[in-house]
């Protein structure tokens, strides 16, 4: 009974901590998710010439998969759904053409067994709360790994509400394809010397801001899932405790 009681207390404390962390993560999510990628998207959305001239998609693409998970556990199903989603995705693709760049311990550990040949790089202990320069550094690594691939797929949990989040696959262009596409941009005025030097920088903005949104969403989803998991654990502990108490 003593152990059940103390477990109940611990989970209750963890729930409070997660709730307050979630508030912080939500604030960061709402502040940061409009950054960057929307604007870059408009270039592609509004330029009809560019859309017609985009390089054709490959039938059997070489993919770099970037699943984003956490290092700590006890966060409900968030990490395991990411791992399962990646497994299902790899089964729909040509396995020999996939590479996995895993961010977060839980994901790396979960994928080392089914995909020992695909897991190329893994990053762990990314300090929370996430900050933008760290994400920029990761974007550079991903960009280097995906030099010869046809697309980058970022797998993360999108925060929908405090009790639900959804797994999203975000598809991004690797650098070569982005630069090739931008050659055809007509609507947006870019003076020639500027075009050649600023398009790689624009690619960095595109990749990093998309990753940033993914990270923010993932953090908020993780905290909300942990809060719910600890809430359930406390409730269960309380029930067991009452069951064990003599009337």
């Amino acid at each position: 009974m003593k152990s059940v009681g103390s477990i109940g207390k611990i989970t209750k404390a963890m729930k409070m901590v997660s709730a307050s962390k979630m508030k912080g993560d939500l604030a960061r999510l709402f502040a940061g998710r409009d950054y960057g990628a929307n604007a870059v998207d408009m270039i592609f959305k509004s330029d009809q010439f560019l859309q017609r001239k985009l390089p054709a998609d490959v039938n059997d693409p070489a993919v770099v998969i970037v699943p984003i998970t956490s290092d700590k556990g006890l966060c409900g199903a968030t990490n395991s759904t990411i791992v399962r989603s990646v497994k299902s995705y790899v089964n729909t693709q040509n396995r020999s053409k996939c590479q996995i760049f895993s961010i977060g311990d839980k994901g790396s550990v979960g994928m080392i067994r089914p995909f020992p040949d695909l897991l190329k790089t893994s990053i762990s202990q990314v300090g929370t709360p996430y900050n933008y320069p760290t994400v920029m550094a990761m974007a550079v690594h991903i960009s280097n790994l995906s030099q010869d691939s046809d697309k980058i797929v970022v797998v993360f949990n999108e925060f929908k509400s405090a009790i639900s989040s959804v797994v999203r696959h975000m598809e991004l262009m690797p650098k070569k394809r982005f630069l090739e596409s931008m050659q055809f941009s007509k609507l947006y005025n870019q003076t020639l010397p500027d075009k050649n030097t600023s398009n790689p920088a624009l690619y960095e903005l595109y990749l990093t801001s998309n990753l940033w949104v993914a990270f923010l969403n993932n953090a908020a989803s993780e905290q909300s899932a942990r809060m719910n998991a600890m809430e359930n654990a406390s409730k269960n502990a309380k029930e067991i405790f009452e069951g064990l108490t003599m009337q």
């Binding site: 960061r28 709402f30 502040a31 940061g32 998710r33 409009d34 950054y35 960057g36 990628a37 929307n38 604007a39 870059v40 998207d41 408009m42 592609f44 959305k45 509004s46 009809q48 859309q51 017609r52 985009l54 390089p55 054709a56 998609d57 039938n59 989603s85 497994k87 299902s88 995705y89 089964n91 729909t92 933008y132 797929v153 999108e158 929908k160 959804v166 999203r168 696959h169 975000m170 598809e171 991004l172 262009m173 596409s181 941009s185 609507l187 947006y188 005025n189 870019q190 010397p193 500027d194 030097t197 600023s198 920088a201 624009l202 903005l205 801001s209 998309n210 940033w212 949104v213 969403n217």
Partner: protein, 252 residues
Amino acid sequence: TRAIRYYTHSRGVTHPPLLQDRLLGQRGTVPPLYKPGAMFRTGLSRVAGSGMGGLLRRFGGSAWALEGEKSGIDSFIEKFRQSAPSVMEPPKFPTEFAKNKMKELDPAAPTPSKITFNFYLPHQVVHQAAEVDMVLLPATTGDFGVMPGHVPVVAQLRPGVVSVHKELDKEVEKFFVSSGFAFVHADSSADICAVEALPLDELDPSAVSAGLADYTAKLAAAQSKGDDYETAAAQIGVDVFSAMNSAVNTKQ
């Protein structure tokens, strides 16, 4: 995520593109697998922010495009179901929730009287959909001002001062930005994405001159040592601090 898909009919005729934007919690995942005879072109995909509704925009509305998409989705979901665990839901696609957000640009419409201005930092939204008269931007190729009806531009910014004229020359906000990108769109909206920006009032002149002296010394040291990386880093420091210096001094 927002994905731009282009459909090419099997006979090589290009159909108008099917634009899909991402919707919060609604964004499609992997694009459908290729159906024989239809070539899908996947462009940008992006996660949509919460404020953004899903965008399904069809230029010209081609029925073929829709069919190609639907059967592509079906074949993908079939394959996904075979390999995914039974309790896992198949991904949702943007076609399932179209919410037209972007305004159709009517060429006959008069130019708007104000610019819709967005100023984003990774950690803060400085301005969102603010109606302003003019914005002055420090681009790498030179300073330029944006007024309603400006031609669409993508400009890389250098460290410098962004002036937001809420009312022309009357209500002016100045920010020092650490470089970034500025986008002016065809519907008279402007976006600035910078990694760091602060109101000009918050720059401390003494700290700025101290920093400038510091980095100038570092630059000299690195150049004498011949270390390329350190030279570049110090040069960046000198550039930013000189920009801050001139910004602070011009204000005074």
